[in-house]
């Protein structure tokens, strides 16, 4: 295999929590040397959050959350209360191609690492700020937390059961979405730099990146002046289209019964006829209430009742298999256990990775969602322990002597 696409590209990674680390994770996947600048005086929030092996929050290196999104990166700890920590960061920036952060607007400027300052250190630097609201506009100083970005974006107003209040997405979706868009931005800026030698600054708003995903809702409003109604799992152009309950998992997990569901989407009349046959009720296809899309849409609730009655007595995996044999889009509503152990497909594609980690062992983590045929892309190592690479970066990359490193450590600059 040829060298990874970003072999030799270095990222000075000032990010934390989720959006920023998800951005630099993509770059690590592509082979960049991502060096996270952390501090033990205020560790990344995700180092403090569950899950932990055995359920016990011991130390800063055992969080599954942190260990998922920081695979393949290095960790350097600096305490910016010490002026010499700033000098270390300046030397690192001088040897980096990209500076990334997801602090609130203005924080990097106050730290002395705003774009103008960074450009003086390295004129062709590419710098990306992944703020909640962007660098301009009246709300630029507002603060944004992951869960609140979903409702802010407009997704919540559009998501929910019919007649119910707005719902969430179930996870802080705007964070990874901003992160992956940030990675795209950095790659395009690297392309431009390869062609022209010029770096640049990129102002990203997590809010705006999330609104990029709402075209159907926003255009309903700009075209017709109306707010789309929340419609659960329904689709305007397909029926039936829903998630139906199957038999519970045969065994409880932690003493609790776990429900199982199947997602089914039927695109046209021919598919419905095959579906009706597959569930043993071929007469439904010629029933005037269900024979056409318009009729099925009008009787969708009845139809959903019929389908639920059929799925309720079956295992989700069996339903998926028999419907797929009939050429129907059906999938088990996967939970973490299903993905981890039971989905033969995703496991068979070597998607999951298990790299040795000194404190959690070879834990299963999600890997890279693409495969490249010529260049090597792989998760090179487990996530770093906090400050694991401080000495290596200072002496190996930045030219500090062993004595300098000891002195910096003794004075607290490397906390």
């Amino acid at each position: 295999m040829a060298r990874p696409p970003l072999d030799g590209v270095r990222i000075a990674d000032f990010t934390w929590v989720w959006a920023g680390p998800y951005c630099t994770l993509q770059l690590a996947h592509l082979g960049a040397d991502v060096i996270r600048i952390e501090t033990k005086t205020r560790p990344c929030v995700t180092r403090l959050l569950p899950p932990w092996p055995g359920g016990k929050p011991v130390g800063l290196n055992r969080s599954g959350y942190f260990n998922q999104y920081n695979q393949g990166k290095r960790s350097l700890t600096l305490n910016f209360k010490d002026p010499e920590a700033h000098e270390v960061a300046r030397r690192l920036i001088a040897k980096s191609d990209v500076v990334v952060n997801n602090f609130a607007h203005g924080v990097m400027d106050r730290m002395g690492f705003g774009y103008e300052a960074v450009k003086k250190i390295r004129p062709d630097i590419i710098m990306v700020s992944l703020t909640g609201y962007g660098d301009t506009g009246p709300y630029r100083d507002y603060i944004a937390y992951g869960p609140a970005q979903v409702p802010l974006s407009g997704l919540s107003a559009l998501t929910g059961y019919r007649g119910w209040p707005p719902m969430h997405a179930g996870f802080s979706y705007a964070d990874p979405n901003a992160g992956v868009h940030g990675a795209f931005a950095i790659l395009t800026a690297l392309f431009y730099r390869a062609k022209t030698g010029e770096g640049q600054y990129i102002d990203m708003s997590q809010w705006e990146c999330a609104m990029d995903l709402l075209a159907e809702g926003l255009l309903e409003y700009t075209m017709n002046g109306c707010e789309p109604e929340r419609a659960g799992n329904e689709d305007p152009w397909m029926a039936p289209h829903g998630i139906y309950r199957c038999l519970d998992r045969p065994e409880p997990v932690m003493g609790v019964t776990v429900d199982q569901w199947i997602a089914i989407a039927i695109a046209d009349d021919a598919e419905f006829a095959r579906f009706a046959a597959a569930i043993g009720q071929p007469e439904l296809a010629s029933d005037a209430r269900y024979a056409t899309f318009a009729a099925r849409k009008a009787h969708e609730e009845d139809l959903n009742g019929l389908i639920s009655a059929w799925t309720a007595a079956r295992r989700a995996d069996d339903v998926a298999r028999s419907l797929q044999q009939a050429g129907i889009a059906a999938a088990v509503v996967a939970d973490s256990r299903y993905l981890s152990e039971e989905d033969e497909h995703i496991n068979g594609r070597d998607y999951f990775v298990r790299r040795e980690h000194p404190e959690v062992g070879t834990m299963q983590h999600c890997g890279i969602p693409w495969k490249m045929s010529r260049t090597a892309t792989s998760v090179r190592a487990a996530a770093p322990g906090i400050g694991q690479h401080t000495d290596e970066v200072l002496s190996g990359l930045l030219g500090y002597s062993a004595a300098d490193v000891s002195r910096l450590r003794a004075q607290g600059a490397l906390e």
Binding site: S153, V180, E198, E216, W237
Partner: protein, 403 residues
């Protein structure tokens, strides 16, 4: 100024959201994108709307108009030998071929990297498919709902432990498609940089299911680390992180994750007596006693207006946010000041307004140059002008439904 990708040439064979969104991101940065659609029906997004007045029309679908601005559009049936030959001639001149042709249809048409790289060894060919190009689910039928479910997201969303009878809930829109698309764009750009360095292209196999599974926050890791399954039925450990309705009918999302945010909120509420109760004294206790806390908070929030509470909270560094409606977004003073929404005239659909630059570059602009193509709008320009086909040949290809 030109966009960052102004020298890049892309051929897209895309439907709905995934591949079209990947190439949209690149087109908006200045890349030339030639979009190939099926003769007759075109991209399925043309049938999905939203439509002005709710009346379906292939050149008026909002989803299509948004995803395909800045592209050139041709029609071509790649399953026909004459169609495949024209695709090969387009690919010979391109840097990237990005597509979401369903794998069984790839097989039928003979669309493969092996074939395309013989024509152009520098080509990056990106296949964005529901489950990837290998494995037992390669050929399964899939739609947005089933892919989002298979990726592990739906199980996280829904009505919570009070309503276990309600199903897991799909997130609005084409999210599985968008995530396959943007992850595909990242991988494609990585391979484009490698091609610039090495003078050689490659194949990229993007699985939408894996793109979704890659962003499950900490929920996936609950199984390997603690043998727990995170679902919509779990109780939230800390509170408040919930939406509530205000007196103007709008909703606000209350979000106090750090202790100082809660203290600032209590202060904003005028330090009511109930807030001093032991059962609300830290975020975990507020989670445990949410049913009681909720009643007090609802009483307060129902006397506020959304915008006023949002601004007052933010002034105290409390990260509340409105549950934005589409109207709120289109009328937002902040988004207007940033010029986020953009407008362009389309020859059939008229004026279209939609999201603009999510990424603002200092040296290379995000640009909206041309509206989405009508079906086959650039057949003459591309097949005639660029590939040099005669008018008679074009007529024949059109008559035989190849284009």
């Amino acid at each position: 100024m030109a966009g960052a990708l102004a020298s890049l040439k892309i051929v897209e064979i895309g439907e709905l959201a995934s591949a079209p969104y990947a190439s949209k991101l690149m087109a908006d940065m200045g890349a030339e994108v030639i979009k190939i659609e099926r003769p007759g029906a075109g991209d399925r997004a043309r049938t999905r709307g939203p439509f002005p007045g709710g009346a379906p029309h292939p050149d008026k679908s909002g989803l299509f108009l948004y995803l395909n601005a800045n592209k050139l559009g041709v029609t071509l049936d790649i399953a026909r030998p004459e169609g495949m030959e024209l695709l090969e001639r387009l690919v010979a001149q391109a840097d990237v071929l990005i597509h979401n042709v369903w794998p069984p249809e790839m097989d039928r048409a003979g669309l493969s990297f092996e074939r395309m790289s013989k024509i152009n060894p520098r080509l990056v060919m990106t296949s964005i498919t529901p489950f990837g190009l290998t494995g037992p689910k390669r050929n399964l039928r899939a739609e947005e709902l089933t892919i989002w479910s298979a990726g592990g997201v739906c199980v996280l969303n829904g009505a919570g432990p009070e309503h276990p009878e309600l199903p897991p809930l799909k997130t609005f829109g084409s999210q599985a498609g968008y995530q396959g698309g943007v992850h595909g764009a990242v991988a494609t750009m990585g391979a484009v940089l490698a091609a610039l360095r090495d003078g050689a292209g490659q194949q990229i196999d993007v699985s939408c299911q894996e793109a979704i599974a890659s962003q499950l926050e900490m929920t996936f890791e609950y199984w390997p680390y603690m043998k727990m399954i995170a679902t919509r039925l779990g109780k939230k450990p800390l509170q408040p992180v919930e939406s509530m309705q205000c007196k103007d009918g709008g909703w606000i999302y209350l979000c106090c994750i750090e202790e100082h945010q809660w203290k600032a909120f209590v202060d904003l509420m005028g330090n009511p007596d109930w807030a001093g109760e032991e059962i609300f004294s830290d975020r975990l206790k507020r989670g445990d006693n949410w049913e009681a806390l909720k009643i007090f908070l609802e009483e307060y929030v129902s006397r506020q207006t959304v915008l006023d509470l949002y601004k007052k909270a933010q002034a105290r560094r409390i990260p509340f946010a409105p549950v934005s409606t589409m109207g709120d977004l289109l009328n937002s003073e902040h988004l207007k000041a940033r010029g986020f929404f953009v407008e362009i005239a389309h020859p059939v659909a008229g004026a279209c307004k939609f999201p603009g630059a999510p990424l603002k570059y200092s040296a290379t602009p995000w640009e909206l140059r041309t509206p989405a193509p009508t079906l086959g709008q650039h057949n003459q320009e591309i097949f005639g002008g660029r590939l040099g086909l005669s008018a008679a040949r074009l007529d024949e290809l059109k008559r035989t439904d190849v284009i």
